[in-house]
Symmetry: C2
Subunit: 283 residues, 2 copies
């Protein structure tokens, strides 16, 4: 006798949601995937791309599943969870994919007893957004953070791990505060800097109109993440504001230090140390 | 009767010098290339790689050529020119490849009458340094800046343009001050920011030792140029200090503005404008 399929609903069929969907849909003997998106077009594209098996008939239908994966921009997740609190199925497990975890998990904690939850964040992505850019291999070998603050039965935990296993990702349990602090430095603040740097350079176009004709791959790469989806990107900053502000103050200190070192001619040692450590991190 | 070969000496057979040499050596009926490098190993690698036809017997031999291309790190170029001023051949043309131009051109202006000169900067490069990474296609389609401040006869100018043409690069005449200001924004200051950002993140390893395991391609790309050769990179900053300091002050203002906008929740419009302009620049 065939085992019962696990029904999974993907709420938000953008790049991340649709990529998860594609991977799950490739295991038709294990998962049945419903998709829901505020944009009808997004949902239809996801269906056409094979990222979902069918489009849910509204939120109520979407949340009537064994697992609900909330993959909308992170700043909208807490509100979504609170507003639809009563619609999540008893015994089901709710997970998200937002790039910050503390505010999401705080909202999850308000879910009715009997609804299981865990915060999730796959450390993967690309600049191109939308279901048309989805790829079932997006998460291969990548870390998938799960929050230590969770409400999971053995059964619920197994469903979550089975999903992550199907993505060929590596589950890592972590406290949401530690996750948010870490990601502020490795992802969210670098985006902030990248956008600020591009802003600075583009401001110079008024006096140096041919400027970008003389820009090489250095500036292009340094500002690549500034071309990320601005709604998604702003969500990382808005929901991780305290850590961003802390990182910004520290960064201003590093800039001051670099200024002093450049003035006194002693910057080279610092630059050498930076290069050496970086070359160790990315060989 | 065969035309006389143009003898070119490459002083500094690193990535840039050896890449120029390789392109010129591929036209054996037009150029004869001598190479000189303070590192015997670099010169020998360049010879083995086919980037030069022979190693010069010291500086005097090296500078006895129709054209001398000075491709050492930019901070050492003015001193090299002044110290060897008497050794440059009358009627020959001196060009450099340094990433800043004003200090170099000021030194070139002190060359004896009869020695021609023009400052040069090919807008090309890669992270890997040294003659073993040299490529004759490195400059293909790339701009090659030539300074408007120059001392060039028709013959000297033709030699320079013939060299650039052989690289398949595009010559652009420009004032050195304008070049240096522009490159500060498109290249040198982005390096400064990139190094400072990596410094900030790596400082957090003391409290978050697993930090880099959670870093994705965003941080990697944003800090890629921080892995450039630190001697070369520092040279760009040191010889363009005034523009770097100006850019730094302006950047600090942009960061302050972004902080205020993030606090007040009005950052999204700015981020959207940044993304839109960047997407126009790099399609």
């Amino acid at each position: 006798m065939a085992e019962r399929l696990i029904s999974v609903s993907i709420v938000g069929t953008g790049l991340i949601g649709a990529s998860i969907g594609k991977a799950l849909c490739s295991k038709k003997d294990a998962f049945f995937v419903k998709g829901f998106d505020a944009s009808k077009e997004n949902a239809e594209t996801a269906l056409r791309e094979g990222a979902i098996c069918r489009i849910a008939n509204g939120v109520r239908d979407a949340l009537n599943a064994d697992a609900a994966i909330i993959a909308i921009p992170v700043q909208f997740i807490p509100k979504f969870i609170k507003e639809n609190s009563a619609l999540f199925k008893k015994g089901s497990v709710v997970m998200d994919t937002g790039s910050t975890k503390e505010l999401v998990v705080n909202a999850m904690k308000t879910l009715p007893q009997g609804v299981e939850f865990v915060g999730g964040h796959p450390i993967a992505g690309k600049e191109k957004s939308g279901p048309e850019s989805a790829s079932e291999t997006l998460f291969e070998g990548k870390k998938f953070v799960l929050t230590k603050e969770n409400r999971l039965s053995e059964k619920g935990k197994n469903i979550v791990l089975q999903v992550i296993n199907t993505l060929n990702a590596v589950p890592v349990f972590m406290e949401s505060a530690r996750h948010d602090e870490m990601l502020a430095y490795t992802s969210h603040f670098p985006y902030f800097v990248s956008a600020a740097l591009f802003k600075l350079v583009s401001e110079k176009e008024s006096s140096l109109p041919e400027l970008f004709e003389f820009a090489g791959s250095g500036l292009r790469d340094t500002t690549r993440i500034a071309s990320g989806d601005p709604v998604m990107s702003y969500g990382m900053l808005e929901t991780n504001k305290d850590n961003i502000m802390k990182a910004l103050s520290e960064f201003e200190k590093v800039l001051k230090e670099f200024r002093t070192l450049l003035e006194s001619g002693t910057l080279p040692e610092k630059l050498k140390a930076v290069k050496e450590r970086r070359d160790e991190v990315w060989k």
